[in-house]
């Protein structure tokens, strides 16, 4: 699952177009768009809106899973060319000491730089960081739900010391659209790693097939989960193991049988 978080509609539009996302009509708190496992949410401007939307989104779409999160938007810098695409190497809230470092797992053609998130728009640029409003609030919130390997900020430079911040929505969308090949390549590479990683997790359906066979205490549930997760490596459907325990009526019999299978298989390298 990939969740794009944008502050503005015009920042989200290139994503909505590229991935053919459709508006989710039942959501009336934040505007949300979806196509299968890709979501895009428009938070509104500023740190508070972004933090609220990210937390809401996690509760809404990402329960029991750690999605990939990307905050996409525009930013300013002293002298970087308009349209330069930046991947955050560090995010910091201006006035706070706390810094967070998103962790990059893939190669990228994007420039990596620190982002300083400000309280309000500011044109006192320097050349060490780029400036936005939401990145820190986004990473701080998203990293409560996913590890920092899955939380990234991508910003397209829209203003610098010779070009003031723009309110032109079409211009903002156009700037981001031009950067989409690099942004998409990064997102796809990350998603590939994410999909591979998540394949090793047990689905609620797989777990419930076994839970339905007997009454499991809380401790036994944990034990069951562990065994099933390990046995997935040998039979991704778990059918073989379900069949072998389906006649048992007691949780301890099921757990004992699964554990014996697991031990036997684990001893053959």
């Amino acid at each position: 699952m990939l969740i794009w978080m944008c502050a503005l509609h015009c920042e989200a539009k290139p994503i909505i177009d590229r991935y053919h996302l459709k508006k989710i009509t039942q959501s009336n708190i934040f505007d949300c768009y979806q196509n299968n496992a890709i979501f895009c949410v428009v938070s509104g401007m500023g740190a508070i809106n972004m933090a609220a939307a990210t937390a809401w989104c996690a509760a809404q779409f990402a329960q029991n899973t750690s999605p990939v999160w990307i905050n996409l938007g525009i930013a300013g810098h002293l002298d970087l060319d308009i349209g330069t695409t930046i991947l955050a190497s560090q995010v910091r809230q201006v006035g706070q000491n706390n810094r967070i470092y998103p962790i990059t797992l893939t190669r990228t053609t994007m420039t990596r730089m620190p982002i300083e998130s400000q309280q309000a728009e500011n044109v006192e640029y320097d050349d060490k960081s780029i400036y936005d409003l939401e990145a820190f609030a986004f990473v701080k919130t998203a990293s409560r739900f996913s590890p920092l390997e899955w939380c990234h900020c991508i910003k397209v430079i829209s203003d610098n010391s010779s070009t003031p911040p723009t309110r032109d929505k079409a211009r903002i969308s156009e700037l981001i659209t031009r950067s989409m090949p690099a942004i998409d390549a990064f997102a796809q590479a990350l998603l590939e790693i994410h999909t591979d990683h998540m394949q090793r997790t047990l689905t609620a359906h797989q777990l419930h097939r076994f839970l339905d066979l007997a009454h499991f205490s809380q401790t036994q549930r944990v034990q069951l989960k562990k065994s099933l997760l390990a046995l997935l490596a040998y039979d991704p459907s778990l059918d073989t193991y379900h069949q072998s325990v389906s006649d048992f009526k007691q949780a301890h019999q099921i757990l004992g049988s699964l554990e014996r299978d697991l031990h036997r298989l684990s001893e053959q390298l």
Partner: protein
């Protein structure tokens, strides 16, 4: 080579940092205040980071030399370890480092001088007695040598501390720097081995057994003292035949006279460490075998462990004298 290099602002101008920056011109450099900002946050995944670990250049401020854990020694009375690095570029599934740190990034402490000062001071406390210093407890001593040049600094420094013995523990074949120095009779280069099946199944990115033997032969030809470390021995159905094969492969090529010490220990991990690693790799075969909890350590059931140790010990003692054999007792 790491794509990302984090560097503490305070040591950016340190000569060793500058040299490393020159050796890694393609890495993306990110300045940080303290390595803990990157290394310690909760919200990170060791397993994911192993796909692309960064290098963090840092300064260590205290605790340069620590007493070695019980059972770590090879005959000496005074045993200490020191870690110029945290983490390892290899990826062994039984490695305790996986459960030790939240991050898989490599941390390199560039202030070698402070380590050596404390090593000297520690050695002075046991004047006239040999004192062992083990490198390679929190890392692999040599694997990152092309970047760290650890050997170039530490070998001459150790040569000057007359009662200090150094063990360089490794699974690496990065011996070029060692070969440029004359063999030091108080330095043991100890190579760790698992049998071929465990190597293939659980030691990712680790050089092959043969390549490590080739490295040992080159060192032995130049007069270096060698160590063999069979720790941990990992159980599997064919462990006996595989262990015998491993010994045959090694001892048919490595001169026994160059061996300083051989140690042996079975797989065990502290309870919390094991739990963390199992959560990271729930499908890993070697972590899903029957285990018992003994004295806070997760290990094989006693009868299995006893049988393994007895078998491996007898096999080893067919090749080596008992005087250089050191079982790891814990």
């Amino acid at each position: 080579m790491a794509q990302t290099l984090y560097i503490e602002s305070a040591i950016r101008q340190h000569p060793r940092s500058q040299e490393i920056l020159q050796r890694m011109p393609k890495s993306h450099v990110i300045e940080i205040e303290r390595y803990g900002e990157v290394f310690n946050p909760k919200s990170q995944n060791f397993r994911l980071q192993k796909k692309n670990p960064a290098l963090i250049l840092s300064r260590k401020h205290a605790g340069y030399v620590l007493p070695a854990p019980i059972g770590y020694g090879i005959g000496g009375q005074h045993n200490y370890y020191f870690s110029h690095m945290l983490n390892c570029i290899y990826d062994c599934r039984y490695c305790f480092l996986q459960g030790m740190y939240r991050s898989a990034h490599q941390v390199l402490f560039v202030n070698y001088e402070d380590f050596v000062n404390e090593i000297r001071h520690t050695a002075e406390q046991h004047a006239d007695e040999p004192v062992w210093f083990f490198s390679g407890y929190d890392c692999d001593s040599l694997a990152y040598e092309p970047v760290t040049h650890f050997i170039d600094y530490h070998l001459p420094a150790f040569a000057e501390i007359e009662n200090a013995w150094l063990e360089i523990r490794t699974k690496s074949t990065q011996i070029r720097q060692l070969l440029q120095h004359e063999a030091n009779p108080r330095v043991v280069v100890a190579f760790s081995f698992s049998d071929q099946q465990v190597h293939q199944h659980s030691e990712y990115q680790v050089p092959s057994i043969q390549k490590r033997i080739d490295a040992m032969k080159k060192l032995s030809d130049q007069g270096w003292l060698l160590g063999l470390r069979f720790d941990p021995v990992v159980y599997h159905q064919d462990y006996q035949a595989s262990f015998n094969d491993l010994l045959e492969t090694i001892f048919s090529q490595v001169d026994i006279n160059s061996l300083h010490s051989v140690s042996l220990g079975s797989f065990r991990l502290p309870k919390q460490n094991f739990k963390t690693i199992h959560e990271l790799y729930p499908q890993e075969k070697i972590l899903n075998q029957p285990f018992e909890l003994q004295h806070g350590m997760v290990s094989y059931p006693q009868d299995r462990e006893h049988a393994m140790m007895t078998f491996c010990e007898q096999a080893l003692l067919r090749y080596i004298p008992s005087t250089i054999y050191f079982p790891c007792r814990w």
